[in-house]
């Protein structure tokens, strides 16, 4: 039969390229490729011509030239004599810092709000609806600017913390919320792996002098943190000025006196490693309990053991390192010690988290609603209790719906962190895409690198998401 219905063999005619569906797609593709190629070559030749006309070349050498500007928040060592590349790296780390902090807080907020919005409690669900709709329908930029204005104009100045009747620090005299930012305690170690410096007899003397100078230099007074490293280390100069008030910063570290507790990256790496090991240990214990349950039908109580597996090594390490809290204290004109979280970071972090949290709340709500009621009823019919039903039946199915849009919200948050420009937070757009471009005049290279950074980050995260997606996908026949 098949041989009869075969079309008669005929020679190839040129008109088949257009009228025969077998060849037409090839024609269209070739035409499209030629058009796109022409467009690209036109753009590239224009760029080359324009660059020649301006007397510029295409060169990434500027990355190894000294930057010459200060960055007010640095997670790694940086000063204005280091290269533009290093400055970009500082910016990248700042972007990642606010992105990670934002993702964590947004998830917490979003999950709470999403669950509460499904609550039977009328007032609570309405209130959450107001939060979600309010944040979803107003531009993020407005929230960032608003929170920044709130922080800088409505909070007490450090001076107000002096005396009895002024403002007071919260959480056991350890956190100070001022109009210059939030001061929180820092964990420091007297036997730090990075080595400790020995204090000068009067370490206090240098600090007030330094901060006085900085205060006179700029509007945003710079504060000096004697013990940085763990969280956010603040630099010396104010937000915009390049290179001022550098002197006197390292004056306090001389011979004699007692050990200054400090912290280095190694300490935190060690603590992180111990935590991960503890987590793995707890998992092993849980798996062993499941094995015993499958073999004998009885599940041994492992929760206290699991908690101990995480906590005991951590406490041992903290004691071995000699950990202590370094609380911020009111110095001359400002707070000393602890970690200074700048207003720009706080405003960006809170606004990003609240805004993205509203979107995540809707995702969580949708995910839980997507699981049909029959699943719950079936679980109850099997005799499972509500808690077990949630853990074993509802959540695994809901997570499959929730995780992909959740990760794309994380991506959005990371990209939205480029709004840092509104509050002067020194993220990668402000360093590499802002000051570096202005100083070197290399817009093309700078924007290209900036775009590449965001692109690679996005592709990495969505790649991970795809792997996860295919691992939890419903195994259909």
């Amino acid at each position: 039969m098949a041989t009869i219905s075969d079309p008669p063999e005929r020679g190839f005619r040129l008109s088949q390229l257009i009228f025969d569906t077998r060849y037409r797609s090839m024609t269209i593709q070739v035409v499209a490729m030629i058009l796109i190629g022409l467009l690209l070559s036109w753009l590239i030749s224009n760029t080359i011509n324009n660059l020649e006309a301006l007397g510029k070349d295409f060169d990434f050498g500027f990355l190894s030239q000294p930057a010459g500007y200060d960055i007010n928040q640095q997670l790694i060592d940086y000063n204005n004599q280091m290269t533009h590349g290093r400055a970009a790296l500082v910016g990248i780390l700042n972007t990642l810092l606010v992105a990670v902090m934002g993702c964590a807080l947004a998830t917490v907020l979003g999950v709470i709000a999403g669950v509460l919005r499904l609550s039977n409690n009328w007032i609570v669900s309405r209130l959450t609806a107001v939060y979600v709709e309010g944040f979803r329908n107003v531009p993020l930029l407005l929230w960032i600017v608003l929170i920044f204005a709130l922080m800088t104009e409505s909070m007490p100045t450090p001076r107000d913390f002096r005396g009895e009747d002024g403002s007071s620090m919260i959480l056991g005299e350890s956190v100070a919320i001022t109009n210059r930012g939030v001061y929180i305690p820092n964990v420091v170690f007297s036997r730090s792996l990075g080595g400790n410096e020995i204090a000068a007899p009067e370490p206090e003397a240098a600090a007030p002098a330094a901060s006085t100078g900085a205060n006179m230099a700029g509007t945003y007074g710079a504060s000096r943190i004697a013990t940085g490293g763990a969280g956010v280390q603040t630099g010396q100069a104010d937000d915009n000025a390049s290179g001022s008030a550098e002197g006197g910063s390292d004056a306090g570290t001389e011979e004699g006196g007692e050990v200054i507790p400090s912290s280095s990256g190694w300490d935190w790496l060690l603590i992180l490693a111990v935590l991960i090991a503890g987590g793995i240990g707890a998992r092993v214990l849980g798996k062993r309990a499941s094995h015993i349950q499958e073999a004998t039908g009885k599940r041994p109580t492992t929760l206290p053991l699991q908690i101990a597996a995480i906590l005991v090594p951590l406490i041992v390490v903290l004691v071995a390192l000699g950990a202590s809290l370094d609380k911020p204290e009111l110095g001359g004109f400002n707070f000393d010690g602890g970690v200074h979280l700048r207003n720009s970071l706080i405003a960006l972090w809170l606004a990003l988290s609240l805004y993205t949290g509203a979107f995540i709340a809707e995702i969580v709500r949708g995910g839980i609603l997507a699981i049909s009621k029959g699943q719950t009823e079936a679980a109850y019919a099997l005799g499972l209790r509500p808690g077990t039903t949630m853990n074993l039946v509802i959540l695994p199915q809901a997570l499959r719906v929730i995780i992909p849009p959740l990760i794309s919200q994380f991506l959005n948050l990371t990209k939205n962190s480029s709004l840092a420009i509104a509050v002067g937070y020194m993220d990668v757009r402000s360093t590499l895409g802002g000051i570096t471009i202005n100083q070197t005049g290399r817009e093309l290279e700078g924007m290209l690198l900036l775009g590449l950074f965001y692109l690679v980050l996005s592709l990495l995260i969505s790649g991970v998401m795809n792997v996860y997606n295919s691992s939890v996908k419903l195994k259909e026949r």
């Binding site: 797609s25 009328w122 531009p139 600017v145 996005s458």
Partner: protein, 438 residues
């Protein structure tokens, strides 16, 4: 057996009881409150916490807003009036800043005597979108929608009337070719001609023709440069043009990404991923800093136009992903049924696939539009005066230095009304188009 029955009868009531009211705590408001607000200790705590939050928010906001001063010429005068009326240090809003500056927040620096033009344009815009949004509006109104872009452009930017008219002529030429030439020379050739001839016309003849017409019958409005536009007018212009242009582009990109043709598919994927992977701010800076590198030397065009192009491309990539989800959600049988009917690609897409796919993706598309409208605030970073930029410049004047809550509340409320109504419209549309489970 009848004996036993006779004995049991004694226990059976032989008169009916009157219908009783349900117990008081099982009905009405009391039951509702018990079940909804105080059903367990967790719920009681949540209720009390929410009540406290509501009280705290309202007790600060309401007096502040209601005490507000509406007539003052600057902040210090406003504060004096507050001190005089309520005593010093009482929190009260200075709505006077809005009363004085609202034209600026809405129109930017558009000339005062020409305010009628954007207002008329807005009314025409409403008339033009009505038939698109609501099917109960007479279909003839669609002609208004078709002509509106040209009229709106003319009203807002001004200039000679003949420019838009000459531009419309290009579309008329395309229509004429499709209507009259297609039966004679075949569909394919006429489609190509209908694209090529108007483009040649716009590039060569259009300008001189408009000039000639203008010299014969000078009909012109005063021209307003883009730098003078700002505030919500600017946000609406960018937002609406972005929305109108990005939907068709996004659908094309989604079709490209679904296509079997290797090159088209890969180009669409690359375009969508590159655009989506980079924040809008970076694209806007690219538009303002780099676009001159990519164009022939000496080309320079309006910053607002660049922004509209960038915003359109950006949201088209997002819409493409949303529509792709809708296309993927359709059962394969729909594609096969369209093929079995003998429809070609474009017909099957237009008549079978896209209507269903777009219906599925309405919520996502509207969310993208809401996002686009909110993102128009980002143009402040490349020097256009959107509402937030204007609020900054108002706060920088000596009169109103220190006002911020009032401006933010106003701007936030305006955006909220716009975006919230878009969201509600999408819910309405979803309900109207729902065909199953009715």
């Amino acid at each position: 057996m009848s004996d036993t029955h006779a004995q049991t009868v004694a226990y059976v009531r032989d008169t009916m009881l009157d219908q009783q009211d349900p117990p008081l705590n099982q009905t009405g408001a009391l039951k509702w409150i018990r079940e909804n607000l105080f059903s367990g200790w967790l719920n009681i705590m949540l209720t009390l916490l929410s009540l406290w939050v509501i009280y705290a928010a309202l007790s600060h906001l309401l007096p502040w807003a209601l005490r507000g001063i509406w007539d003052a010429s600057n902040l210090s005068q406003c504060r004096e009036i507050i001190a005089e009326r309520y005593g010093a240090g009482t929190p009260a809003a200075c709505w006077a800043v809005l009363a004085e500056r609202w034209p600026q927040l809405i129109f930017g620096f558009f000339p005062k005597e020409l305010y009628w033009r954007p207002i008329l344009a807005f009314l025409i815009f409403l008339a033009a979108v009505a038939p698109v949004l609501f099917s109960s509006v007479p279909r003839k109104m669609l002609w208004v929608s078709a002509l509106a872009p040209f009229v709106l452009f003319w009203l807002i930017w001004g200039g000679s009337l003949w420019g838009p008219v000459a531009a419309i002529l290009g579309f008329v030429i395309a229509w004429a070719i499709m209507a009259f030439a297609a039966p004679k020379i075949g569909t394919l050739l006429s489609v190509i001609l209908a694209i090529v001839v108007p483009v040649i016309y716009w590039l060569t003849l259009c300008g001189p023709l408009a000039g000639a017409l203008a010299s014969v019958v000078p009909l012109a409005l005063e021209q307003v440069p883009t730098q003078n536009m700002g505030g919500f007018m600017l946000a609406t212009i960018i937002g609406v043009s972005g929305i109108v242009l990005s939907l068709p582009l996004g659908i094309l990109l989604a079709l490209g990404r679904q296509s079997d043709m290797f090159i088209i598919n890969k180009c669409s994927v690359a375009f969508i991923e590159i655009i989506r992977g980079v924040p809008l701010i970076v694209w806007l800076f690219t538009a303002s800093l780099l676009l001159n590198y990519f164009l022939p030397p000496g080309t320079n065009f309006d910053l607002m136009l660049r922004v509209i192009i960038m915003v359109t491309l950006f949201s088209a990539a997002y819409i493409a992903e949303v529509v792709r989800g809708g296309l993927a959600a359709l059962p394969k049988g729909q594609y096969e049924a369209a093929d079995a009917l003998g429809l070609d690609y474009w017909k099957s897409m237009r008549l079978i696939i896209l209507p269903q796919a777009l219906k599925i993706s309405i919520p996502g598309i509207v969310n993208t539009f809401i996002g686009l409208f909110k993102d128009t605030t980002l143009v402040v970073f490349i020097g256009l005066l959107d509402p937030i930029g204007l609020s900054n410049s108002i706060r920088a004047t000596t009169d109103w230095n220190g006002v911020y809550w009032e401006l933010f509340v106003f701007i936030g409320l305006c955006f909220f009304i716009f975006c919230f109504s878009m969201g509600r419209y999408s819910l309405f549309l979803e309900k109207k188009l729902r065909r199953e489970h009715r």
